[in-house]
């Protein structure tokens, strides 16, 4: 428990649940946070070849529904500035 959690009186059971949620995602998908970052970088590079995106706003997450996992990628497209000006 860090100082902030102590301050707001966070219970240890909540920490346990949050930590387990993350650990289980990684156990089930065999994917570490570092591997997910690497995947994100590859994805940004591949998509950028075809379409203009803002790399800083790309979000990649593993979501779970029951016992099944899915990879969710949220990739906002950059507004096509030229067309607007024209």
């Amino acid at each position: 428990m860090n100082f902030f959690e102590r301050l707001i009186g966070k219970k240890s059971a909540n920490s346990a649940k949050e930590r387990l949620q993350l650990v289980l995602i990684h156990d089930r998908t065999d994917m570490t946070p570092a591997a997910l970052e690497a995947l994100k970088d590859d994805l940004i590079a591949a998509i950028s070849k075809h379409i203009d995106i803002d790399p800083s706003s790309v979000r990649i997450e593993v979501e779970h529904e029951g016992r099944s996992q899915r990879l969710i990628a949220d990739i906002p497209l950059r507004v096509a500035a030229r067309r607007r000006l024209g």
């Binding site: 219970k11 240890s12 059971a13 909540n14 346990a16 649940k17 930590r19 387990l20 949620q21 650990v23 289980l24 156990d27 089930r28 029951g66 016992r67």
Partner: protein, 264 residues
Amino acid sequence: MTAKVITVTSGKGGVGKTTTVANIAVALATDGKRVVCIDGDIGLRNLDVVMGLENRIVYDIVDVIEGRCRTRQAMIRDKRLPELFLIPAAQTRDKNAVSPSDMVRLCDELRPEVDWILIDSPAGIERGFRNSIAAADKILIVTNPEMSAVRDADRVIGLLEAEEKAAPSLIINRLNQNMVKRGDMLSVDDVYDLLRIEVIGIVPEDENVVVASNRGAPLAMEGKTQAGQAFRHIARRLNGEIVPFMDFESLSLWDRISKLAWRK
């Protein structure tokens, strides 16, 4: 009779598999069912002492598999319940003495003779675990409301999914209601939320479990201990009965859990 084979496993050691097997077996046998327990932990025999039958062992499971005795001779009859039997693990042999197909053959031989076959799996996910699940019709996963036990339970559930076994059910053992109320222990609902498999039993932490194993007389045999009652409820649910979860078994989410009660 065509026995149903139930395997109790957990991933992590020390969460209460052997206690669970002994108590469910006693509860089923008290109900007049014919029950055989098989200790699947070759090299680390334990079910015999929990059931209080350690002094009666002559032959063990490896003797049966290697043909040194008939299956009948390795079945130790319980002192108190004449319909309850134990096939003990070998203590001195290495765990490769038994294979998954040996277990399937042994269970097939026993099936016509009894109502229930309960297999106590060793901890871990290796050979002994593979042996124990090979013949299972139903798998029960025991966990504690605690980080590493829940994580290992999830790992085992994943392995069973990969093997395309029927969906396992969950027993949450050693729940300490006071700690849950204080917010210092995962609740039944938290554990269900994380693992997402049907809950078939909730067993409170109970000092009497140690006392019972000291005496070699499983709790479910008699008396009114909460843990003993929880184990008897699991046995009834296995029999297809719909048994509501008791106050100590559930939290505020009684309704949600009771919807999950196992139906045959």
